[in-house]
């Protein structure tokens, strides 16, 4: 995915979420989004069955 693709995603996503973004913030947002998406891809490579439950994080 190119920087232009990511910039377009940031532009559309922030408009959708109603987050105002200044031009001077975009480079850092792009950097951090790219890092997060790399991590997400790393997780996605690990195949789990459909019935795998997410971790419990709430007890009551």
């Amino acid at each position: 995915m190119s920087d232009d693709d990511i910039d377009a995603f940031i532009e559309a996503g922030c408009r959708l979420l109603d987050i105002p973004v200044r031009d001077e913030w975009r480079e850092a947002i792009r950097l951090h989004l790219a890092i997060s998406l790399d991590h997400a891809r790393n997780v996605a490579k690990f195949e789990l069955p459909d019935d795998a439950d997410p971790a419990p994080v709430f007890t009551a």
């Binding site: 913030w25 947002i29 991590h39 997400a40 007890t59």
Partner: protein, 466 residues
């Protein structure tokens, strides 16, 4: 070796009326006055309240009332923890508009119930989303061993205040490493308990499914005393387990006989600077831990923790990002905005992986009792440093200091970070002692044993050690 009074010694002296709580608190306040300009650890000093509380403790002891295990011990708390009468800043500018907290957070109230005396609130990275201790609103926390270097974060003021000898005990929080990293950089002990062990009620959240509170101190005994004082169920935190307190202090001297201690290899060796590996070697040798194991899929666990943190953290702050984005610390704001854009499917996948990973790691504890791993990949970097070399590749510093802490807190395991002095020249660095869930006692016993044989200790900061 310490010229800084330990909490256990202070409490014994106050209980024995060899020293008054008022004298102890006055000395602590004078020390904060003297050193805080250099360390920038405190954001608020509650001097009047502390003196009144100390006077009440002295009066109670004079009446013959029972004194608590932390009688007269000064302590301070990361400013994301509620302190009655102060707005809970969580390191931010935005939270300065909050009304002051009406009551202390549960762990603060419990420490006070044990006789400890709160002396103030501590600096931290904004909304706990840093590993550096840097903060654009309050200025960076500064490392007591070299004020030009980072304390680590996000409990940076907690690390600086204890490492610099301003208080013997501080309270911090740890979502991905925020107790263990300042403990490593500042050369002190830090306990991240099992997820759900200590109440987080009255603390400002970051990532609920990963947030923990815990103590930092200059010795294992002080760490255990503080930990024991804070244990117990609290219905105000839905994650806090209904489990009776399991005091660790009485068994602290039990030694390591019978414990199966191993060191983590693979992922936990890759990327570590020589000083981190030297510290791990020193601790492993002291414990005769020759066997090395692989924690399966640790790199992916770190990735999953990263994704969950970014997304849950962004969700928490979405309203503030919409209304007051320009008021955030830029280093935090840009990461939060990026986090808001992570697809939900990625977060669900990370939570699914989390269960798999938890079960895989828990199986390891059928064969071992303690796993050793580096706490940080290097010793404290200079304040302002933006990148470092990780396995031959230049990467951003702020998101990556926690590479060795994240795979552990991801599944809530209890960890004591122990300080190895002068592993990096004059700078200390920490090692993680990791145990099975609910076995803080084993991690603390191991830490105490290492301290007893002289393998680890909290080094004096130069201002006090020369």
């Amino acid at each position: 070796m310490s010229a800084i009074a330990a909490a256990a010694d202070i409490a014994a002296a106050v209980r024995g009326r060899r020293r008054s709580a008022c004298e102890v608190v006055d000395a602590a306040l004078a020390g904060i006055e003297r050193s805080n300009t250099r360390l920038n650890a405190f954001t608020a000093v509650t001097a009047d309240r502390a003196r009144a509380r100390a006077a009440a403790i002295d009066a109670a002891i004079a009446r013959g009332d029972p004194a608590g295990p932390l009688a007269g011990v000064p302590f301070a708390v990361k400013n994301l923890v509620d302190v009655a009468g102060l707005p809970t800043l969580a390191g931010s500018r935005i939270n300065r508009d909050r009304t002051p907290a009406k009551a202390h957070a549960a762990p603060v109230a419990r420490l006070e119930a044990a006789g400890a005396v709160l002396v103030g609130a501590l600096n931290m990275g904004e909304y706990a989303y840093d590993f550096t201790g840097e903060n654009c609103h309050d200025g960076p926390s500064r490392n007591p061993h070299d004020a030009s270097r980072m304390t680590g974060g996000s409990s940076g003021g907690s690390g600086g205040a204890v490492g610099g000898g301003l208080v013997p005990i501080a309270l911090g929080s740890d979502t991905n490493g925020s107790i263990r990293i300042p403990a490593s950089f500042c050369g002190i002990f830090g306990l991240k308990p099992t997820y759900g062990r200590l109440s987080r009620a009255g603390s400002f959240p970051f990532v609920s499914s990963l947030d923990h509170l815990g103590p930092l101190a200059r010795s294992t005994l002080d760490l255990a005393l503080a930990y024991d004082a804070m244990q117990g169920h609290d219905a105000h935190d839905p994650v806090c387990v209904a489990r009776p307190g399991e005091p660790a202090t009485p068994a602290l001297g039990g030694g390591i006989g019978g414990l199966r201690i191993v060191r983590a290899g693979g992922y936990f060796r890759a990327g570590a600077a020589p000083e981190a590996l030297a510290a791990l070697d020193r601790v492993a040798a002291a414990l005769s831990a020759e066997r090395e194991i692989d924690i399966p899929e640790a790199a992916r666990a770190r990735s999953a923790a990263y994704v969950i943190t970014a997304s849950e953290g962004a969700a928490l702050h979405l309203g503030r990002l919409r209304k007051r984005a320009a008021d955030f610390d830029p280093d935090v704001r840009d990461r939060l905005i990026a986090g808001a854009l992570i697809p939900g499917a990625a977060v669900a996948a990370a939570q699914k992986f989390r269960r798999w990973y938890r079960e895989a790691v828990l199986r390891l504890f059928d064969e071992v009792d303690v796993i050793l791993a580096p706490a940080t990949p290097f010793a404290a970097p200079p304040i302002g440093q933006k990148s470092f070399m990780l396995a031959g590749k230049e990467v951003a510093l702020r998101p990556n200091i926690g590479i060795y802490t994240q795979p552990i807190s991801f599944i809530g395991l209890p960890v004591v970070a122990v300080p190895v002095p002068e592993a990096a020249g004059k700078l200390p660095i920490g090692v993680q002692i990791i145990a099975a869930p609910w076995r803080e006692d084993i991690a603390l016993r191991t830490s105490h044993h290492l301290e007893t044989i002289g393998a680890v200790c909290a080094p004096l900061p130069p201002a006090l050690g020369e």
